[in-house]
């Protein structure tokens, strides 16, 4: 945790912040807020992970053993919502809070009070979402995409989910406005846009995507709410509405959303790979353009989630080709990371292991994505475990592995202490093994026709499901090791050297003491 170091720049500060719990409630410091975002998202990761354990426990054997179908559906729905909106997204905002000001030489975020507010909305939203399990009728159970008519028919749990999504959306929008303003207006002198670290670039583009599509999500859940309670018929066929229209509007948000969850992880990997290869990032400007191209393309591919919803052939062709086109800038990125490592003086500390694991497994997820983009194949695998395998390869071994890489990479800068390298490597290898055990076999299940969101299955799927469940339990337990590594690092880790990674070149490593002082860059550094 960031200790208070008032004299880093050789002059005294008066830190007027209160102590104890009030410090955290009233803080406007980007490091405190970043820390809270990270702890919050980890807590939600454990909640969402617990739901995943429930799902895999039920699927351990055919038949209904643990979760009744109604509760199983609530588990899958809330697992998705909590992981997307509660774990992955806030974790990246936490990294942005800590790292963006440090990497561009700014003293804090542009709007410090709004920053505090956008964090403290999150526990409120999470409480609404999680407490919906305990209302009559239980939590929302129509899938994390809450398609009508299920979402217009559900009970109080759906209303709580709608309010929760509203609040989470407001928090995200405020966070993005803050990040955009900080990056565009508060860079140190000499830090031109094309000198910004890749992590900052990816977050700038992500934040623009967020202000572009989160309001559309807010709109579509508002329509759902008025359909449910105020007599409108946006999605009600009997009233002249159209449930398929919900899918179009939802995925207009939803597809950029998946890039919102992956672009910052591209940024983290683009910082870690050069550091541990001791070479500058290969093709920096092509990385920037590739990120921007991915963001733009992500806005015109949404209907590839709906190939079976009924669409003219020409529409299917357009969305198929547009989707496959995204593989081009993504391929540029993978090429550049590989070329950065090429003939580098590589070393394999935990952040680097997670970054390489990210590239390896994200490419598998990317390829299965291209396969799903092909219309006739998609019609076969729609709503099967093949799709589940695909998006867990990009979201778990993609986004989550990058988050782990970033956490190990920056924890010495944040706390002034080193994590236990041996345990870190154990965390990586166990995660790698159990992740693949869980999700690789799900490709086979999907190709054989096992549908998603169903608590029971045909006997022919039994073996692969048992393997997948064993992998999931192992993966879940392994993440408790991560918690232990981080807590023991923060409380009693060895003192970190000023520069723990000798290949790091960004401002937080070159221009700030380790740990980073509570107030940093009050005098902007000069970037040459």
């Amino acid at each position: 945790m960031a200790a208070v170091h008032g004299d880093a720049h050789g002059h005294e500060h008066d830190d007027h912040h209160p102590s104890g719990i009030m410090r955290w409630i009233t803080t406007t410091n980007h490091k405190d807020i970043g820390t809270m975002y990270l702890w919050f998202s980890f807590a939600m990761f454990l909640v969402g992970g617990t739901l995943a354990m429930g799902i895999r426990a039920e699927l351990f054997q055919p038949g209904i053993q643990i979760l009744e179908p109604e509760l199983f559906n609530q588990f899958t729905t809330l697992h998705g919502l909590i992981m997307v909106f509660g774990a992955i997204m806030p974790a990246f905002v936490g990294f942005a809070n800590w790292q963006v000001p440090l990497m561009i030489g700014a003293p804090d975020m542009a709007f410090a009070r709004m920053n505090n507010w956008s964090f403290w909305l999150l526990p409120v939203a999470a409480t609404l979402l999680v407490s919906s399990f305990f209302v009559p009728g239980g939590a929302a159970a129509g899938g994390w995409t809450f398609y009508p008519p299920l979402s217009t028919q559900g009970g109080l749990g759906v209303d709580l989910m709608i309010f929760s999504v509203h609040i989470l959306g407001a928090s995200s929008i405020m966070g993005s406005i803050n990040i955009i303003t900080t990056i565009l207006n508060m860079r140190a002198p000499g830090m031109t846009l094309m000198k910004m670290p890749m992590f900052v670039w990816t977050w700038l583009i992500t934040a623009y995507l967020l202000v572009l599509v989160m309001p559309v999500l807010a709109g579509v859940v508002t329509m759902l709410l008025t359909d449910r309670h105020f007599g409108t018929s946006f999605f009600n066929a009997a009233g002249g509405g159209d449930p398929v229209m919900f899918q179009h509007i939802f995925w207009f948000f939803g597809h950029p959303e998946v890039y919102i969850m992956i672009l910052p992880s591209f940024g983290i990997v683009s910082e870690v790979i050069p550091t541990f290869s001791r070479k500058p990032l290969f093709g920096y400007s092509s990385m920037v353009y590739a990120t921007a191209s991915i963001a733009i393309l992500s806005c015109v591919v949404w209907a590839h989630h709906m190939f079976t919803a009924g669409m003219p052939t020409v529409g299917q062709l357009f969305f198929m080709y547009a989707t496959m086109l995204i593989a081009v800038p993504t391929g540029v990125k993978v090429f550049n990371w590989t070329a950065t490592m090429w003939r580098g003086s590589m070393s394999f500390e935990t952040p680097m292991l997670f970054a390489i694991g990210f590239i390896f497994l994200f490419v598998i997820g990317g390829f299965s994505g291209v396969i799903c983009a092909i219309v006739p194949i998609d019609i076969q695998v729609q709503d099967t475990y093949y799709v589940i395998a695909h998006f867990h390869y990009v979201l778990v071994s993609g986004s989550l592995f990058a988050l782990f890489a970033g956490a190990y990479y920056w924890i010495p800068k944040w706390t002034g202490r080193m994590y236990n390298e041996t345990l870190g490597k154990w965390h990586f290898w166990l995660s790698m093994f159990f992740f693949n055990l869980t999700f690789f076999v799900q490709h086979f299940l999907g190709l054989a026709g096992m549908p998603r969101r169903i608590p029971d299955y045909n006997l022919q799927f039994a073996d692969f499901n048992m393997i997948s469940s064993i992998g999931a339990f192992g993966f879940g337990l392994t993440q408790l090791l991560f918690l232990y590594i981080m807590i023991s690092c923060i409380r009693s880790g060895e003192k970190a050297p000023q520069m723990p990674w000798d290949g790091a070149t960004t401002l937080e490593w070159t221009h700030l003491p380790t740990p980073a002082p509570y107030h940093s860059f009050e005098k902007p550094p000069i970037v040459k």
Binding site: D108, A110, I177, T181, L184, M186, V216, G231, G240, F252
Partner: protein, 183 residues
């Protein structure tokens, strides 16, 4: 908090711009609704409420027989709804009129809207509906019974491997004040 390398005024200006952009995107979400309807209307996707016109070069494929099944349901409103004939045997291209009957079993006036559904799903592309009770809402007084026609032609372009098609209608209750006719 010293904002030495930042200009608060410029930041607030940026905040305002981005906030306005957020509001525009919220409105854009709603604008997608009429856009979607217009898009479907112009491209002829999802045409539920307008009669089709029979083209001049319509022809009857007398070589081929097609079995048509008629299905009728009332969902969530106290009406009885049935078709007066359960099936028909026709040639593709040949116009046919089928009568349906609805009865309001309740003591209140109820407005309902019928929504069609087809099997196979792509029948929609080959079905030319010239007249249908589903083009408008139906308002029934207490205990009222009404007979209503559907007139349609199934285009001979229907793939030859299809021998049987089903045309189904389901009546849903329209809440008061809601008028399905938006076009």
């Amino acid at each position: 908090m010293g904002m030495i390398n930042s200009n608060p005024k410029a930041n607030v200006l940026m905040l305002k711009k981005l906030f306005i952009f957020t509001l525009i995107m919220f409105a854009f979400g709603y604008a997608l609704v009429p856009f979607y309807e217009k898009f479907c209307e112009v491209t002829g996707i999802n045409n539920l409420l307008n009669p089709d016109v029979l083209s001049k070069d319509n022809w009857v494929d007398e070589e081929r027989w097609l079995a048509v099944e008629f299905d009728a349901n009332a969902r969530g409103l106290p009406w009885s709804f049935k078709s007066l004939q359960t099936n028909a045997r026709i040639h593709p291209g040949e116009p046919i009129t089928v009568m349906y009957e609805i009865t309001n079993n309740s003591d209140r006036e109820i407005a309902g809207q019928a929504i069609p559904s087809y099997s196979p799903r792509y029948l929609e592309k080959h079905l030319k509906k010239l007249e249908c009770f589903c083009f408008t809402k139906q308002v029934l007084k207490p205990k009222e019974t009404r007979q209503m026609p559907v007139q349609f032609v199934i285009d001979p372009s229907l793939p030859v491997e299809i021998n049987t098609v089903t045309i189904s209608y389901t009546f849903f209750e329209l809440p008061e004040g809601v008028n399905v006719i938006k076009k």
